[in-house]
């Protein structure tokens, strides 16, 4: 299974939608709350060259925002 990381904040609707979607399609993911974790925030900015959540990292492929189609393609589901 591909390694999935989501960088999110606690109240962001699109982050929750993304997490709900992963749960729905039964994909495990690691969640980093970048509102609390400064180190992971820096990592997110470095990976995505922007500041905005969510950022989803699917085995190195970076998806900015909640884009179902892109997620599906990256996961090959």
């Amino acid at each position: 299974m591909k390694k999935v990381i989501i960088y999110s904040t606690s109240a962001c609707p699109y982050c929750r939608m993304a997490k709900d979607f992963f749960n729905e399609i039964k994909i495990e993911f690691i969640n980093y709350d970048v509102g609390i974790d400064k180190e992971k925030l820096d990592e997110m900015v470095k990976k995505s060259s922007q500041i905005g959540v969510p950022v989803i990292d699917i085995e190195g492929e970076i998806i900015i925002g909640f884009d179902k189609e892109k997620i599906k393609t990256a996961l090959e589901v």
Binding site: T9, C12, P13
Partner: protein, 301 residues
Amino acid sequence: MRTYELIIVGAGPAGITAGIYAARKGMDFITLTGDIGGRTLFSWDMENYVGYQFVTGKELVDKVKDHIKEFNMDIRENEQVREILKNQKNFRLTTSKGEYEAKTVIIATGREPKTLNVKGEDKFQNKGITYCATCDAPLFRDKSVAVVGGGNSGKHAVLQLARIAKKTYLIEIKKDLTGDSVVVEKIKNLDNVEILTETQIVEIYGDLLVKGIKIKRGEEIQSLDVEGIFVEMGFVPKSGIINFIDKNKDGEIIVDCKNQTSYPGIFAAGDVTNVFAKQVIISCGEGAKAGLSAFEYINYV
């Protein structure tokens, strides 16, 4: 091409409720939308939605999703409508994925945040500029930020940011902050907030990410070091997909009490229209009316 009796554009409170009514009337319809829930997802808390003492936008949308499952509705997400045109007696809708035809259309596209229209705004999109304080405020911990717009949403963004950011500037073009005076007083008493009225943002600059803004006060231009810019200037209706119906000066689609637009067969509901008060509960009611009107139109007109 298949001709649907109805196509609903948008799946916020208005579009969803229209769909529930259309489904119960047994209409042949689909819904085309970017997402389910729309701006409701961004509502923090609602304390005036009947039946709930307190509910967040997300909770309400989850409930709605459960509700629509019962109706087996064909809702096509990630499919934004780009244009609606007349096609003889019917309407032709072009989306990001294809073309559709329908006898009636309900436009329930809602509204979106107003943009700044200043130099640097495009370049620094998501690189410090944000239109969702709820989402992105926590990313600016111990940084300096600016909130543009002193209306209710701007003031709430300031209250949120004051607890997180090192320094928050509130930029308002008018002479005074308007709205809830309790909130205004609260903001004035915050040590790490500076209110700049009669001030206009003229440029956003930086390298990879935002480093600051240029503001104009009277004739004087000055620079402020900020890493985050929260645009909270209100909303504009998403009515650009259709051009042959009447709109008011703000671009809102004009509807009558039955949600009919100036063109027969085209209905509109919710925040995209000139309806008084943009509230979830009102959009639901408007969507219900639009669904019933479309049904009536198909059967009796």
